[in-house]
Symmetry: C2
Subunit: 316 residues, 2 copies
Amino acid sequence: MNDGLPSEATALSPGSIGNVGVGYDVLGAAFDAVQDRVRVERIVAPTVEVGTITGTVTELPRQPKANTATKGLLDLVADRHLTHGFRVHIHKGIPLSSGVGGSAASAVAAMKAAQVLVDPPLSDDEVLHYALQGEAVASGALHGDNVVPMLHGGLVLTRSLDPLDVVPITVPDDLYTVLAHPNMQISTRSARAVLPQAFPVGAIVQQTGNLAALIAGCFQQDYELISRSLHDVLIEPYRSRLIPGFDDVMAAAREAGALGGSISGAGPSVFAWCENEAIATRVGEAMSEAFATVELDADIWTAPVDSAGARRIEAN
Amino acid sequence: MNDGLPSEATALSPGSIGNVGVGYDVLGAAFDAVQDRVRVERIVAPTVEVGTITGTVTELPRQPKANTATKGLLDLVADRHLTHGFRVHIHKGIPLSSGVGGSAASAVAAMKAAQVLVDPPLSDDEVLHYALQGEAVASGALHGDNVVPMLHGGLVLTRSLDPLDVVPITVPDDLYTVLAHPNMQISTRSARAVLPQAFPVGAIVQQTGNLAALIAGCFQQDYELISRSLHDVLIEPYRSRLIPGFDDVMAAAREAGALGGSISGAGPSVFAWCENEAIATRVGEAMSEAFATVELDADIWTAPVDSAGARRIEAN
């Protein structure tokens, strides 16, 4: 393969807080406290292979069609009629089925690495396209609420996936996310199954008021408005039943100074937003204690909302 | 009544564009091209009387309980145990059942006038409270999407009515509203009756993406984003059937340069947003011509989105 392209590349992707409570399927925030790292090697045969799997999860599908990190690459090889292929080594930093977009992060990191392993290199839109294809292996459909913020970093609104219309939302510099990940699993598929097919107009009005106000609060750096708005009245009432102790955890977070919070993505992780890192630390402790009362150990992570998106790094 | 209070006061209220397409029951914009004007006289008896009714509409209920301009005053007299009362003279500039909040405007103007006719004067929250009571006579329930922007001016989000939480949304200075009012009527009650009780999740996701993006577009003064976002996929598909020629009118508006638009409130008026006054004028002509093809005469009005709210004036 004397074509001048690198023989391999490595990239990492942050996790993400899908939905951010009030923006079901449209809002997401990168969460750089946890990361998946993927190394993609070029191989001579025009196929895609799953290589090593290390980190917090090692039991992942080894068929390239069924693995989120390789499905996008398979499509890429086919679409571009490539004469070479890829071997993919996955290091999982994000726990499985935790609601922080672990499936999406592997897909994003793989495509971000592969971006420079083809000629011409993948455009950012192509990276997104193939990462969405990868993520769909896990969720069963195209959803941008994790992939898009993982690629862009920060808080991101996906107005439309097709055609793609992504709107970065400016947030206060000090705004922090706390994530409490209880030691249990909820799959995205089952979390979607508990939702009704339709929602009453009263709840829609309340939710849209909160969503619009949250966006305004972010642009205006108005923490009180953000706090009043960060209430998911549409989805949380259904999904919170799947999370033991949810109400007490959220109450503990608010009591410890959180602006508000909700379920991260499909759960079971619960996030809270805080005005700064010091408050976030206190809030994390309170959330951990609240989960402990229902006998759930919880990992606690914190990171600024305005954090970096997926990026290539030197292999190590 | 030697109590030092004025013997009368006059106020006017602009119309408003309820919902602004994508913000059903939460978003509204003052529309100062049309106005209701109300003069409130103090009278010795602690009662409320409907005085003269002039302007575009003269057939309004004469029972104080059934008239939007007097219902709030009746409540005020009762709540404060006033020893005096009010006679209310209404000059309608806003056509009846036009979808520009005519019922609400009379209620708002009446309470804005009465604000200084009691001791202590009404707080702004009290003015809003009683205006909402007045508007409810017409719509059958408490709705803030007209009353709130009429009082505040400009584009306003009502995150919550109880407790009241109002968020002014900054818009570009040059943003203009064009309103086409076809010569027909749709009552708010019947426009609500065509709506389903529940909406499918796919439409909700699309609508919330548009709403959040519209708010972001306003704060960022991004006309292209505003244009992409100003699409009501939730309510318009039902209510537009009540407006002959609706699709053609909206297509004509966009073709003439409008950013987008939808139904104003419950209809039948149709609004469009434009980048400046000159475009608004052209768009208005195009909308008028499109209504003419279905044999509807339409009044065309234009005003800046960032226009004044209700205010007291010298009587004339």
